[in-house]
Symmetry: C2
Subunit: 257 residues, 2 copies
């Protein structure tokens, strides 16, 4: 791993649940020496990518990141376009909806609309979702370049629950089913007791760039409701894709083997 990769690895240790970390914690979790960790943090903080709390001496993500994110968002308004559709979908289904964008080989959760129900699924912003084992991942693969699907599925796939599909053939079957239907389903593939449906958000080339997903407690779901959620998430994604790309887009299905 190069120096740049290490610096970004440190940034990736900050999560919604643990947004502030001390030097020793960062060193321990990254596996980098304390001196190395510190030097990287100093470089990052000089450029505004991390900030250090003056009194607790702990580090957190810095304003420089927000600034760049806003530049990106001004150019490519993924959140601005998708957020209202996600909110509407959440209200319509009464369930937690999360929006993901593809980045560095996985899906990153960039927005969440929490269900208002007492019994609901909680998803953290910034969470990284694997492409197998989540409804979002399968929906993404179903509308990705075949090379990407192949290279992903050729590596060993870890299990997250006892229900995670890890076999190449099983994943490909789920992908083909999702491509045919237009949305994917996943029951407890990533977390016990959670059922999700997801559909792809397409880029100008017709391939997926992200996903929208509805996540429900499994106990609430039956086949009819799952299908209704599937149709709803597909509609929302179609609308988002249209707004993002300005014009209709020919979808790229993965129906072949």
């Amino acid at each position: 791993m190069g120096t740049v990769g290490k610096a970004i690895f440190l940034l990736d240790l900050f999560t919604a649940r643990e947004p502030e970390l001390g030097l020793s914690e960062l060193s321990r979790r990254s596996g980098f020496d304390k001196a190395t960790t510190r030097r990287l943090l100093v470089s990052l903080s000089q450029n505004g990518f991390v900030e250090q709390d003056v009194e607790s001496r702990r580090y957190r993500l810095g304003a420089g990141i927000s600034r760049l994110a806003r530049i990106r968002e001004a150019h490519f308004p993924f959140l601005q376009i998708s957020t209202p559709a996600a909110r509407e979908l959440s209200l319509q289904t009464g369930e937690t909806v999360h929006l993901s964008e593809f980045s560095a080989g996985a899906l990153a959760t960039v927005h969440v609309e929490q269900s208002t129900r007492a019994n609901r699924v909680n998803v953290d912003i910034g969470q990284i979702l694997p492409l197998h084992g989540t409804a979002s991942g399968i929906a993404f693969l179903a509308f990705s370049r075949p090379e990407l699907v192949k290279s992903y599925v050729d590596h060993p796939l870890p299990a997250f629950t006892s229900h995670t599909i890890t076999g190449r053939a099983e994943v490909m079957a789920a992908v083909r089913a999702a491509a045919a239907r237009g949305y994917s389903q996943s029951s407890q593939g990533y977390e016990e007791g959670v059922f999700s449906v997801a559909a792809p958000i397409l880029g100008p080339d017709g391939y997926a760039i992200g996903t929208l997903s509805v996540a429900s407690p499994l106990s609430r779901i039956d086949d009819g409701l799952a299908a209704r959620h599937g149709e709803a998430v597909m509609d929302a994604c179609r609308q988002i894709s249209l707004s993002l790309n300005g014009e209709p887009v020919g979808t790229r299905l993965n129906l072949a083997s």
Copy 2:
């Protein structure tokens, strides 16, 4: 400059006006060798910090940045809290309002509410503002740690227009005036024909963490209107600071020499 600094320098070349750049352009503007530039870009893209357009081969900021920014925003909802106040202030004044956050020794513009008038000031998201020469900068300095003010003002200050105040004494006078009034004024200090007022957004320790500013065409401004804008921007900032910190905060004025 360390490797990490160079990587971030590359990221900082992407702006709202030029959100996509080719390898040679990046190499030229950064002054790094083309091979070096490329290696940095590859590292960055492997981690989702930049993306490469498949057909044009140009680079742009990546989704990994959005992801981290969302984690930060979930922890510290600067934009979420400030944006509505900025919008209201823009509607109230009829002028362009911009929100800045302090980062790496300068103010970074993270949100803009454009005036709806035909003759208006345009500000780009992501723009870096110097601490002298903008109303925002002076407002920030007026509510900053004295050490920060001193170290800033001890370095040579560039002029952006013929009206930019660059002398240590002049800057300190403007800072003291802003501290006494609660807001700052700047006439054409950064761009010709632009008049601005600004007030600080305060952190939990009572020192400024950002600013809110109203920017008008100079032709529209007289003393009375400037004062009304000043009071309005101060009110908005007070409200934001309160919401951000949860409780009243003792302000830290820079009234001493």
